[in-house]
């Protein structure tokens, strides 16, 4: 008769475990799909929020750049004709990045030594971080307590008073949750420089003002515009002599843009002609309230409508002499600018995207991460908990604790992977769709592929990790229980 001897149970290979695990998933397909779908939904939600944030950021940057180019003419004109306030000038200095044309222009227009410009730029940058902090981060109440309610540069002038600064320092230390961008000593150092630096900045600004006045003396605004549209080299020479950084090619581009702007303006104005409006409404049988520039321009894009417009322009007559092709081109340009403006408007309603990913979105990401964690963990806990009996049975049949754990953790990992991949795809499709609805073609034109890939990878990894970790604990508990204890758990 065989005796019972005490020997170690064999350990199954990982491959064998995997086989058993996949078998189980397959047999329990429906239940598995339910669990996976929970993972899919939560990962989809998370990756949707993340990729949407990243994509909006990408669109914002792209649109901003495109806008800067499209508005090149307006910016150029403003530079030549408008005098900035000190605050505006400090703002510009603070934003100027060394090595860029804008930086060279500072030196060119003001005639100041590069080293001095560098000092002032870095001073302004520092000042700006505090300015932004004071104006944007402080609540109304805190600003009153700390800065006597002052905003902008006035806040710094308020702090220049030593008494005020001491008060500021004292109250700041009481407001524990408030984090200054630098130490109070750093701010103090900045304030000690303040008066001297501002005097220098004012001197630079005066140089700009002088340049603007020189231009105004040479060309009244209307004349200046005409000359630029005509690509007049006299303007270019004067502007360059005054130190503005603009090369031939750029000047030509600006000239073309300004010409278009002026022409579009004339076209839009002629659309307000009452006779034309009536005829247009009749011809296209639309309501009077549908007669908006955008709607009209959309019609004018077509060859036949543009031809009709030219005919009307001669007949009424309208003060425009564009041929049909030009009308179509201007209409298209008008619409392109309008849609860009529209996207910019949408972006502005979505928060401040200039600084990076908007705070609200980061908050949303955190929340969705928590939702994701709780959702997946819950699904995994349930899927282990409802199989305590099975675990107990397997232990009665000689399963090792390790095998039970590997089985469940592996299963959770598989669910995490499958759910993660599907969820990520779903989330990405959703955000693509939403982005497309908000931003149209810009959503694709400025699709930040690399960043989105990163976001997706993170979502996938998080999904898998959470699933695995969430299964780790209950299966550890279950595997260590005596079989009968586990069987009693309901």
């Amino acid at each position: 008769m065989k005796r019972i001897e005490a020997k170690d149970q064999v350990r199954l290979s990982i491959y064998k475990c995997f086989e058993i695990c996949v078998n189980g998933v397959y047999y329990r397909l429906f239940r598995s799909l339910v669990t996976i779908s929970i993972v899919v939904l939560t990962v989809a939600f998370f990756s949707n929020v993340v990729t949407e944030g990243i994509m909006t950021h990408g669109v914002a940057r792209g649109v901003q750049q495109e806008m800067q180019i499209k508005r090149g003419d307006a910016r150029f004109l403003a530079k030549l004709t408008e005098v900035e306030t000190v605050a505006e000038f400090v703002e510009r200095l603070g934003r100027t990045v060394p090595g860029t044309p804008a930086y060279r222009e500072l030196a060119g227009v003001t005639g100041a030594a590069p080293a001095r410009i560098g000092d002032l730029v870095s001073f302004s940058t520092r000042l700006l971080t505090y300015r932004k902090f004071f104006d944007d981060r402080l609540t109304f109440g805190k600003r009153r307590i700390l800065l006597g309610g002052k905003t902008g540069l006035a806040a710094f002038e308020y702090l220049l008073d030593p008494e005020n600064f001491d008060l500021f320092r004292k109250r700041l230390s009481e407001l524990k949750s408030l984090r200054l961008p630098g130490t109070p000593d750093d701010l103090y150092g900045l304030l000690r420089e303040y008066l001297g630096r501002m005097k220098e900045i004012e001197a630079l600004r005066a140089q700009y003002e002088k340049a603007v006045k020189t231009i105004a003396a040479a060309y009244p605004l209307a004349v200046l515009k005409e000359k630029i549209v005509a690509g007049d080299s006299g303007v270019l020479n004067l502007v360059r002599k005054l130190g503005f950084q603009v090369d031939e090619a750029e000047y030509r581009r600006i000239s073309g843009q300004l010409a278009d702007t002026e022409r579009i303006l004339r076209l839009s104005k002629s659309l307000q002609n009452f006779t034309f409006k009536t005829r247009f409404i009749n011809r296209f049988s639309i309501l009077a309230k549908q007669y908006t520039p955008k709607q009209v321009m959309k019609k004018l894009k077509s060859r036949s409508n543009a031809a009709w417009f030219v005919q009307q322009a001669q007949d009424i007559p309208l003060p425009v002499d564009f041929d049909a092709q030009e009308v179509r081109r201007l209409a298209r340009e008008f619409l392109a600018r309008a849609s860009l403006r529209e996207v910019e408007r949408v972006l502005n309603t979505k928060g401040d995207w200039r600084e990076g990913i908007d705070r609200k979105t980061i908050w949303l990401m955190v929340v969705s991460f928590v939702v994701c964690t709780v959702g997946i963990a819950n699904a995994m806990l349930i899927s282990v908990a409802e199989r305590f009996r099975e675990i107990a049975t397997m232990k009665c049949l000689g399963a090792l604790d390790g095998f039970v754990m590997v089985l469940f953790v592996m299963e959770a990992g598989l669910f995490g992977l499958a759910g993660g991949v599907l969820g990520v795809v779903l989330g990405l499709l959703l955000s693509l769709l939403k982005q497309f609805l908000s931003f149209g073609r810009y959503a694709l034109a400025y699709f930040p592929a690399a960043h989105v890939a990163g976001g997706i990878g993170a979502a996938l990894l998080i999904g898998m990790l959470i699933a695995t970790i969430a299964a780790l604990y209950p299966s550890w508990v279950a595997s260590r229980m005596a079989p009968m204890e586990a069987m009693r758990v309901e």
Binding site: M1, K2, R3, I4, E5, A6, K7, D8, Q9, V10, L12, K16, I20, N23, G24, Y27, R28, R389, E390, A392, T393, M394, K395, C396, L397, G398, A399, L400, D401, F403, A482, P483, M484, E485, M487
Partner: protein, 246 residues
Amino acid sequence: MSEAGPERQVIVRTIDLRKEYVKKGIVTEALRGITIEIYRGEFICVMGPSGSGKSTFFNMIGGLDAPSAGRVFIDEVDVAQLNAYELAYLRCKKVGYIFQSYNLIPVMTALENVTTPMIFAGVEPDEARKRGLRLLDLVGIGTRWFHRPKEMSGGQQQRIAIARAMANNPSMLLCDEPTANLDQATGQEICEILRRLQREQGVTIVCATHDHKFLKVSDRIAWIRDGQVSRLVRSDEVEIEVGHIG
């Protein structure tokens, strides 16, 4: 085989086995000092009223739960001294368990249920399959090996459970009310299968039950009452009394 002489080999020995369940501060004494010897190759029936501690006893001698006090020796090895690996080996190879509620793994087919303990024991899949089919044949459901437990009747499920318990040729089968969920006829069949296994393969069978059908097939009967063995007799002594006990 029904001869319980002192020369017989002891396969399970318990010494003053006790088990208390503590729940919400209330202590339930399920076993209150059981000392018993079970002989190799015998068919012993553990009877007693509901709540008397049969299942608890079953769990203790099967190494499925830890006693509060006392000792369980299986083949002179103290179960409490075994580590997790040795315990798994014991459950896998040396003892087969049969439960009232079958406890089959629902996602597996009959055959897979039977081969699972073999796979845990490291048997090659082909060999396991062959042996599994043979065992299913032995319990009379060889043709239905591809069905899941849900697609089978209670009696058929219990047959799978028996085949599974026999998977690694254990020395001992522990049964906890194997026929409680079954009708008379099916219960009788299960009873006979177990008896055949004992007679033909020399497996020790310990069967906790209310079912008087087992009185006829067992060699000895232990009566448990309030967690203690109240009577331990050879079945031929009992058979005459069944009338007024039942």
